[in-house]
């Protein structure tokens, strides 16, 4: 298992990785949102020995901390992972095809990177302009809207998050990947 934090720097991730024995990496340039069309976390992919993605982007959790909100139980996923590791069995949803990003989502990722550069280099006007444009272009994308929250002084666990979650659900939950059906 490899965990990749889609975050601004190593410092914000290190406290989360304490005591964890598997590799933890940090995706400061949002490569996974661009290359793998990741638009929310957690997103889990199963990758085999030959680098083949045998089960693509799926919204799975390592614990049941959010089950009340999401309806997703981690044990359902872990049972399937164990079967795959044991004898290669893949669940039916493994054939799911993740739809490609649309032009706005691609542009939003470029605006996000520009905003981040502006913020890192102390150009607040550039950062603000491009964070705003990225959010307009991809209003349901957590790697844009929610990732921008801590970078713009907004609590990502506060009211802004619940507002985003409501907008996302009202839009039909456009997660790019497998969402386990609610029980």
């Amino acid at each position: 298992m490899i965990a990749v934090a889609i975050d601004e720097n190593v410092e914000v991730v290190a406290p989360l990785a304490q005591g964890i024995t598997y590799p933890v990496l940090v995706d400061t340039e949002h490569r996974l949102p661009e290359l793998y069309a990741v638009n929310n976390v957690p997103t889990v992919m199963w990758i085999d020995e030959a680098d083949r993605i045998v089960r693509p982007n799926a919204n799975e959790f390592g614990s049941d901390m959010f089950t009340e909100l999401t309806g997703i139980r981690c044990e359902d996923h872990m049972t399937q992972v164990r079967a795959w590791i044991r004898d290669g069995t893949l669940p039916d949803d493994a054939s799911f095809e993740v739809p490609d990003l649309d032009a706005d989502e691609i542009a939003a990722r470029l605006h996000f990177r520009m905003a981040v550069h502006g913020r890192r280099s102390g150009r607040g006007d550039v950062a603000e302009r491009h964070f705003n444009r990225a959010k307009e272009l991809a209003p349901h994308d957590f790697t844009i809207v929610r990732a921008a929250m801590p970078l713009t002084g907004i609590d990502p666990f506060g009211p802004a998050y619940f507002e985003l979650y409501g907008v996302f659900e009202a839009a039909g939950a456009p997660y790019r990947g497998i969402r386990r059906p609610r029980p």
Partner: protein
């Protein structure tokens, strides 16, 4: 390259600063800058990296009296672009083909990431094992 060129920040695989002259909100760069920014060289055969070349049906579409239209060159490689002329910045995304390899061909693209000591690491370092790739975040 001339008196109108200005340092321009290019955000692509890495961040680089190149001299560019801006025309109609598009940066024009010296051909020699393409390799630093895109990893490809402009040759008579087209855009080349090592022995591999992407032929250009119309090389003149990239050419400009002051150099090469950087965004057009990136577009030839299937890479989306965004310019901010006021900030003198250009962002260049990954080739659409690289994402298609993940989503359609189901081959995991490699990526350069940081480990917790700040060292650059490649996802491909974990090739050869059955593994879960988990994207998470602090937010």
């Amino acid at each position: 390259m001339n008196e109108t060129s200005t340092p321009t920040i290019v955000i692509a695989d890495d961040e680089t600063v190149v001299e560019a002259t801006w025309f109609d909100d598009r940066p024009v760069v010296d051909p020699s800058a393409l390799e630093a920014v895109l990893g490809w060289n402009l040759k008579p055969e087209g855009l080349c990296r090592g022995d591999a070349c992407v032929p250009l049906p119309d090389q003149s579409a990239l050419e400009h009296p002051e150099g090469i239209d950087l965004m057009a060159a990136a577009g030839t490689l299937g890479r989306p672009t965004l310019a901010d002329p006021d900030a003198q910045m250009v962002a260049i995304g990954v080739p659409a083909d690289d994402r298609q390899r993940a989503l359609v061909d189901r081959q995991a693209p490699d990526a350069t990431l940081l480990d917790l000591d700040g060292n650059q690491r490649q996802l491909s370092e974990w090739s050869g094992t059955r593994r879960l790739l988990v994207a998470f975040s602090s937010w």
